[in-house]
């Protein structure tokens, strides 16, 4: 199974494995360069102004926190705005379609927007910029980016229109205290997840054995996380769908059992934020979601489970062990008249130093190998935070795209999201998934035709 392609863009398990090995194995040369030491002329575009459109979230917080550093380094002023994820996607797409964007730089989610933007050629190809020594700082070290992340960012036609920012591996958060109370060990299979949830579930005392997204659209990665454990992707690169076969139905049944029987009442309307609320209050024993939540979970001001959280690698399924992978990148608007200044901003934002801050601050999983080695060497992450880093390292080795690499990924999430939500209300997973598959087939055929 290793090495088979999970997407048209070239994201393979092997390439991600390679990236992981590079990230984990390096240990010496990765101290982040201090900006300006290489003699690169950061100030050549002094006086320009850039508009940057960011998706609201930890990475945007990090970039804005250090924005002044970029302004002082380059003399370029930056106007950056943070927009909530859903609205950001719409705003950016509509501006791109208009042919004239108000921003020069924008963040992009690989799993939702990449193909749409690629087809429209809305983002500038960065390959020539990267190769140009006048425009690219020698310390930028493009080879430091995980190959899997670069593959994820690369379009079908070979264009590289984004630099990866963050890779979101799905892990299983578990409440060690609740597990200990019932003398349950961390699950080592899908069956054990169900058994652990059953044992710990205690609705009378407000404790749920499991929690995950039930809200349509948002819930699809939960199901695909289980589907990947059956050794199949939802949609192959040749557009063969595996969404209503035995594997899909079994994954659907697991999703249904966990959310219908062991999740809190009302989970059908829960997105990640409601799940997080329940977990930080110590009300849920397990939570399956992206790796980027360590920051609130370990924040004493927000969390009642500080120091009690286990960060577990996704347990193996009957046929394979995979952590569903999602990712974000940053690119330059093709209509921007300040592409060189924008490229300087991207070099700074995705630099070794910023990637190290990204990881140290628990903002998520950066794409540079050097960041992991540097943070481990620094010894700044200890205790639960180190466990979080270990879970990340473990997930890198088994990462696999969590959503199909197609244009109509939002329609895919919507259609199958409704089917999954219906299963929480008691609908038969096989029937719902078959219905969703039939509904989605014409959409796929239409949107993927070249």
């Amino acid at each position: 199974m290793d090495g088979y392609r999970s997407s048209k863009s070239g994201l393979t398990r092997r390439s991600v494995l390679g990236a992981g090995a590079a990230a984990l194995g390096a240990n010496s040369i990765f101290a982040p360069a201090v900006f300006g030491q290489s003699g690169f002329d950061w100030k050549r575009l002094k006086g320009e102004h850039l508009e940057v459109s960011l998706t609201l979230g930890p990475r945007a917080e990090l970039w804005q926190k250090y924005e002044k550093e970029f302004e002082e380094l380059t003399g370029i002023s930056v106007g950056s705005e943070k927009v909530p994820e859903q609205q950001h996607r719409q705003k950016v797409a509509i501006e791109f379609a208009s042919g004239n964007t108000s921003f020069d730089v924008a963040t992009v989610s690989f799993h939702v927007q990449k193909q749409l933007y690629g087809r429209g050629k809305w983002l500038a190809d960065l390959r020539d910029l990267i190769k140009d020594p006048k425009l690219t700082n020698p310390d930028f070290d493009f080879g430091d980016f995980a190959k899997g992340a670069i593959d994820y960012a690369t379009q079908k036609d070979g264009r590289l229109d984004t630099i990866p920012i963050n890779l979101d591996y799905w892990i299983l958060y578990w409440n060690k205290e609740l597990f200990q109370q019932k003398n349950v060990a961390y699950p080592r299979s899908f069956t054990e997840i169900i058994e652990a949830a059953r044992t710990i579930n205690d609705p009378k005392n407000g404790i749920s054995g499991f929690i995950s997204r039930g809200l349509k659209n948002a819930n699809v990665p939960v199901w695909t996380s289980f589907l990947l454990g059956y050794g199949v992707d939802p949609i192959d690169p040749d557009l063969t769908m595996h969404t209503d076969g035995t594997e899909a139905t079994e994954a659907g049944k697991i999703y249904q059992t966990l959310n219908k029987e062991f999740a809190p009442p009302g989970v059908a309307g829960f997105n990640w934020n409601e799940c997080q609320t329940s977990f930080v209050l110590g009300k849920s024993a397990m939570w399956l979601d992206g790796i980027g939540f360590a920051l609130p979970l370990e924040d004493p001001a927000k969390s009642k489970v500080v120091g009690k959280v286990g960060y577990g690698v996704m347990p193996p399924g009957p046929k394979a062990q995979h952590s569903a992978l999602f990712g974000d990148g940053v690119g330059i608007s093709a209509s921007s008249k300040k592409k060189e200044a924008a490229w300087l901003y991207i070099q700074w934002a995705t630099s070794k130093q910023m990637n190290q801050r990204h990881l140290e601050g628990l903002y998520g999983a950066p794409a540079r190998a050097s960041a992991y080695a540097a943070v481990r060497a620094s010894g700044k992450l200890t205790g639960p935070k180190l466990e979080w880093l270990d879970a990340m390292a473990g997930s890198i080795k088994i990462a696999r795209a969590g959503l199909p690499d197609i244009v109509a990924v939002t329609e895919f999430r919507d259609t199958f999201g409704i089917a999954l939500t219906n299963t929480i209300s008691g609908a038969d997973p096989a029937t719902e998934l078959k219905k969703a598959t039939e509904a989605f087939k014409p959409v796929l055929a239409k949107t993927e035709k070249t």
């Binding site: 509509i94 809200l215 009442p265 309307g269 829960f270 409601e274 919507d414 409704i418 209300s425 949107t447």
Partner: protein, 311 residues
Amino acid sequence: MSAEAALAGSRRSHVLWRRLSGGAATRGRPYSLFVAPALVLMAAVIVFPWLFTGFMSLHDWKLSQTRSFAGLDNYTRLLGDERFQWAALRTLYYAALAVMAPLVLGTIAALIFHRRFPLRGFFRGIFILPMMATPVAVGLVWTMMFHPQLGVLNYLLTSIGLPPQLWVYDPGTVIPSLVMVETWQWTPLVMLIVLGGLAALPTEPYESAQLDGASAWAMFRHITFPLVLPFLMVAAIIRTIDAVKSFDIIFVISQGGPGTASETLNLFLYLQAFAFYDVGYASAVVAVFFAIIVTLSLVLLYLRQRTQWST
């Protein structure tokens, strides 16, 4: 400048204007030119968007993909789209509840606030506060209140011995729960309209009825209600249009879910246009949606005509 000079200047402008506008033979035309800016503005902000929406609805048009003429395909697709049909039915169900509840409660509130009692002005002010809040903020606050485990609503229910509810987190209760929010926010509007009507009512019929020994209920049933009915119809028209196109509260609280249980036409339209970027199909939905709102408005306007006081 002297008065004579100003007058001469004015005459010269007038003559120039007459020459430019074609002289006495076309006396009406100069005045029509004054209307031109308004016409241009109307064409730009109302007529053009509609024509362009109609144009888009006749095309197979997705962002980032090539556009092709599709004739009436988008409209025929709507006819066979079960999700659209369910959304239309849900919209009517939602609108019916979201109009009736504020009308009934708003009328009762108006009758109460029409009476004189201590601190009446203060309580009126408090009562209309929800109407002043931004719907998105209202939605966020109610989302927290609806939370099955942490929300204040279930806390209140359980504290008086009633079982907790799932509110917007259950397909069966999501629409009534959303209507509850609409009702909370818009009952004050109905109250204000009806209160205005009550203040304008003549006092003579009440004096006659009192002399004849009519009960309070009889006076309401036979005098107040018929006289206030035209005002209620105004409130009904405003509320119907608002309820049919309600979006913000539903989007913030339930996003049309669970599943599609609260997906109204507006949510369906939003999804097609801004999540799937299917602007051709979304434009067809807009056209049909517009037709529904116009039809409903015409029916209500007709009913309002029927209920107007005879002079």
